[in-house]
């Protein structure tokens, strides 16, 4: 009797620590319910695959090159991914990159301004075009697919038309001897060494943008609003979320990142081909979708989009390192997209089935 009594006090401390009984199952469920889990698995599998078949793929330099290729897509994809979580599309992002690069180059060159003035004016233009896209979408109610398809053609035509009028050719003049070029190049297109490996600065910027986007999505009020306007705009509006402002801001975010990407191109190559950028918009969208973003909005993550861009960079370089015909890359991309969409659909079903 006295023994059993003395045993009883031992039990409460165990009972007082609540998590162990509940934790294991939800953790697994939560892991699987994360939007980026499919992309993470795919990235690991593809990495191992190329690691085995392509010896050249294994070096640290190769990895740095992969990251660089990923960042070129990844930077704009951060914005496109957020926009898609917010329930909208931007098909104009690819050619817009070129538009902003052309703007900065031609303004600075023709008016003989400091490079930074052109860079700044191009940023203003990028925010304006983002605003116009967003404003037209929320005002007219026409799907953003169509609105931005329109902007896409307008910009594509204007890129070539205006460049020809101004320079007489389909590319801009070399701006590498302009005032302010060197400092702008340091910001947008330099590289540095870590442990003897050359890393491009765009990789750092890319990671920074992903961090900011992740913070915004998961930790801030704006993030809550982005999920809500993509998931159920009518419901969001009814509880007082400024749906239109959020959507316009997202379009402007894409504009800003497209501008950033354009500045990288300008300062990396010194001249810009006016006809470039076509088809890039799909790569941004694919990166977001492969990363677990739902095409219908309301679900996704910035880390997932980054993984999508990483898969893109890895495959693009991996095929080269393996010595295959690079044309297969597009075919691979298509397969990845189809797989991702199928996985996303089942994830969405899994996450919304009734459990309680």
């Amino acid at each position: 009797m006295s023994q059993s009594l003395s045993k009883t006090p031992a039990t409460p401390p165990e009972a007082a620590s609540p998590p162990p009984a509940k934790a294991p199952a939800p953790l697994m469920t939560r892991m699987l319910a994360r939007p980026e889990i499919g992309a993470l698995i795919a990235a690991v599998v593809i990495y191992i695959f190329f690691f085995l078949v392509a010896p050249a793929f294994r070096s640290a330099e190769a990895f740095s090159t992969i990251l660089y290729a990923s960042s070129l897509i990844g930077i704009v994809a951060v914005g496109v991914g957020l926009l898609m979580i917010g329930g909208e599309f931007d098909l104009s992002a690819g050619v817009a990159v070129v538009t902003y690069a052309l703007t900065a180059a031609m303004l600075s060159y023709q008016f003989n301004l400091n490079m930074w003035v052109g860079v700044f004016l191009a940023m203003i233009l990028s925010l304006c075009i983002g605003f116009i896209n967003g404003f037209l979408v929320v005002r007219t109610g026409i799907p953003s697919f169509l609105i931005t398809l329109g902007t896409f053609f307008v910009l594509q035509g204007a890129n070539l038309g205006i460049t020809k009028l101004v320079t007489g050719a389909v590319s801009t003049q070399n701006v590498s001897d302009m005032q302010g070029f060197d400092s702008a190049k340091a910001v947008f297109a330099s590289s540095f060494d870590i442990f003897g490996v050359t890393v491009k600065i765009t990789v750092v910027w890319w990671l920074l943008f992903v961090l900011v986007a992740t913070w915004t999505l998961n930790r801030t009020r704006i993030g809550n609003w982005i999920f809500a306007v993509g998931g159920n705009p009518a419901s969001a509006r009814a509880v007082g979320v400024p749906v239109n402002k959020v959507k316009i801001a997202l379009f402007m975010g894409v504009g800003f990142l497209a501008w950033f990407s354009g500045m990288h191109q300008l300062f990396a190559f010194n001249t810009i081909q006016a006809g470039g950028g076509v088809g890039q918009e799909f790569l941004f969208i694919i990166a977001a979708v492969v990363g677990g973003t739902l095409l219908t909005g309301g679900y996704g993550s910035a880390v997932g989009t980054a993984l999508g861009a990483f898969i893109f960079g890895m495959t693009q370089q991996g095929i080269v390192y393996a010595g295959w015909d690079p044309n297969w890359f597009k075919a691979f991309l298509g397969v990845m997209l189809l797989l991702a969409v199928a996985v996303n659909l089942s994830v969405k079903k899994f996450a919304t089935t009734r459990k309680a």
Partner: protein, 274 residues
């Protein structure tokens, strides 16, 4: 169960005091008239039921009160002051919260995110300030528990809850954020008998806590269970306006089913059978 309702309900509410008064309110969409000459008042501690068939103007009526559309005729007074809402935010700021049948919540978002949507707690007032996530989770969890809504995990997407639970979360949210008038748009339309019961209980709880409730439905049985005042709309006009003491469930049901028109129809049908 009604603990939090009474706790959070505005203490300045006095039963019977009019919160919303509509006089001759009408609404036209271009050449189409959706609503005409509506007189309606919503008082604290009472449930005003608005009944009507599809297309009777119920949705237009709530959209005016909740600020999604503004009225084109007549006057709308809240707490005795004339208002003209141009956004849901304005209506919310006057303490009018609307819970919609199908769009009450964002299905893929977690329960706690839904609970605080549009009224998030922030750690500071600068851009990209973090939300107080831990606090928000705890508040949402305890509020729902206190109201008898058991959610397995506050972090699960709200789409995994049943329809009745989702409505209840939406109602709990509205009350927690200081709603004085609660507009429920067809809260029981898509629900089974048991689930409807749960929602009706919360409706009654909100009423008893002193809130003014506007209950939109096409089910006179549900309306009669909780209602103090009944208004039937037909083709944008009011065809019945009675207190609970002046009307029976049978009358309400008959009027809703079409009243005189139905009687005529039954005569015609019988005649053709002979």
């Amino acid at each position: 169960m009604t603990d939090t309702l009474t706790e959070h309900a505005d203490p300045t509410l006095h039963k019977g005091e009019p919160l919303i008064e509509m006089t001759d309110v009408g609404k036209t969409y271009g050449a189409i008239r959706a609503l005409k000459g509506i007189n309606l008042s919503v008082s604290a501690g009472e449930v005003t039921c608005v009944l009507g068939d599809n297309g009777a103007g119920k949705s237009t009526l709530i959209k005016i009160m909740s600020g999604l559309h503004s009225h084109s005729e007549g006057t709308l007074k809240v707490d005795g002051k004339e208002v003209h809402f141009s956004s849901p935010r304005e209506s919310l700021d006057h303490g009018i919260a609307t819970v919609y049948q199908d769009l009450a919540v964002v299905g893929l978002m977690e329960v706690w995110r839904n609970f605080f949507l549009g009224s998030e707690l922030q750690a500071g007032n600068y851009p990209l300030a973090p939300m107080k996530i831990k606090e928000m989770r705890e508040i949402a969890d305890s509020e729902l528990k206190k109201m008898g809504i058991t959610v397995k995990d506050i972090n699960q997407p709200i789409g995994t809850l049943s329809g009745g639970q989702r409505q209840c979360v939406a109602i709990a949210r509205a009350v927690y954020f200081g709603a004085r008038v609660l507009i429920l748009d067809e809260p029981t339309a898509a629900l089974g008998v048991k689930q409807s019961g749960v929602v009706l209980k919360y409706t009654a709880a909100a009423r008893d806590a002193g809130l003014g409730v506007v209950f939109i439905t096409h089910n006179p049985h549900h309306a009669y269970l909780v209602g103090n005042h009944f208004i039937i709309l037909k083709l944008g006009q009011r065809v019945l306006d009675k207190k609970r003491s002046e009307v029976t469930l049978e009358e309400l049901t008959a009027e809703m089913a079409g009243g005189r028109e139905l009687a005529e129809l039954s005569h015609e049908l019988q005649a053709s059978q002979r």
